[in-house]
């Protein structure tokens, strides 16, 4: 496929006057091979984006702890992006000039930002919601640990258990804070906000990373508690 594309491009370059770009020549000349190349690019780009959306859809299908609201938003966006991409490609295929085809094909990128926005949007939302679920499971178990610690006689074991418990609570709260709001924030980003949304995505990544780290420490604390209170 790449070889064919390269050959097509080479043929296109050979057909145009050396030193004059297509943009400079405007719509006055539009070789059929050039128009075909744009149309092929559009079809391929849309097909690849459909495949990516299918992967994203599969991912959230196996992540049971994504909140219903976020899941609905993502599923809706997958559908609307898919149909929107098909519509753009139909416009590209119907174009009769290179300029029109190129302008329409650009919408495949600018109207959807599948790779720059939808992919990280989906994964960050799933990561945050799943992490928040994990933190909530530990938060719900804290009273049991506290009650068990209270039954321990004073001594090294109780001191160690209390220290693990205190850190568990702190790490769970930190994780909940880090994961909280990430999904809502990233799902509010729109393709038109490019390139500004990249800063928001970077911030969301940092929050989720911190949340994962805190949740890991909380799990380690909880495992230590389980051993001490066995």
């Amino acid at each position: 496929m790449r070889l064919r594309t390269a050959l097509t491009l080479a043929a296109t370059v050979a057909l145009v006057t050396p030193g004059a770009s297509f943009a400079a020549r405007g719509t006055r000349e539009c070789a059929q091979v050039r128009l075909d190349a744009i149309k092929r690019w559009s079809t391929l780009a849309v097909t690849r984006r459909h495949a990516t959306i299918a992967v994203l859809s599969g991912r959230i299908a196996v992540r049971p702890h994504v909140t219903p609201a976020h899941r609905n938003t993502l599923v809706g966006r997958f559908g609307s992006d898919g149909s929107g991409l098909d519509g753009v490609n139909q416009s590209v295929q119907a174009a009769t000039t290179c300029a029109a085809a190129h302008a329409e094909a650009t919408h495949v990128v600018t109207d959807f930002r599948v790779y720059l926005l939808l992919v990280p949007q989906t994964h960050l939302t799933v990561a945050a919601d799943t992490g928040a679920y994990g933190a909530s499971r530990l938060a719900a178990a804290e009273p049991k640990a506290a009650a068990a610690i209270a039954l321990l006689p004073a001594g090294e074991k109780r001191t160690a258990a209390q220290a693990a418990y205190d850190d568990l609570v702190a790490q769970v709260r930190a994780a909940q804070s880090d994961f909280g709001g990430v999904g809502d924030t990233v799902l509010a980003l729109a393709p038109a906000q490019y390139p500004g949304f990249t800063t928001s995505l970077d911030s969301a990544r940092a929050h989720v990373g911190a949340g994962v780290a805190a949740l890991g420490k909380a799990v380690a604390d909880a495992e230590r508690l389980a051993t001490l209170l066995r």
């Binding site: 790779y115 926005l117 992919v119 990561a127 994990g134």
Partner: protein
Amino acid sequence: MTRVVAAAALALALAACGHSGGSARPAPTTPATTAPATTPAPATSPASGAHVGADFTTAVNDASAARSQSSGDLGAATAAGEGTPPS
């Protein structure tokens, strides 16, 4: 193990009858697959007086699995180039 349990049960049955042997009463039958009765897990362990229970362990396992999935999803949250149509 089953033989030992059966033998012990037989001995107990014989002792209850005042016999050290013989076949005055049939030994209670014990299904081969039935494990000896166990006492329920205590709410508190004898050693420490404290026990968090299975629910706590389940919560920890759930949280650990969630952390692992979240970490994997974070790793997948990378942006890639969109490309541009040929011009």
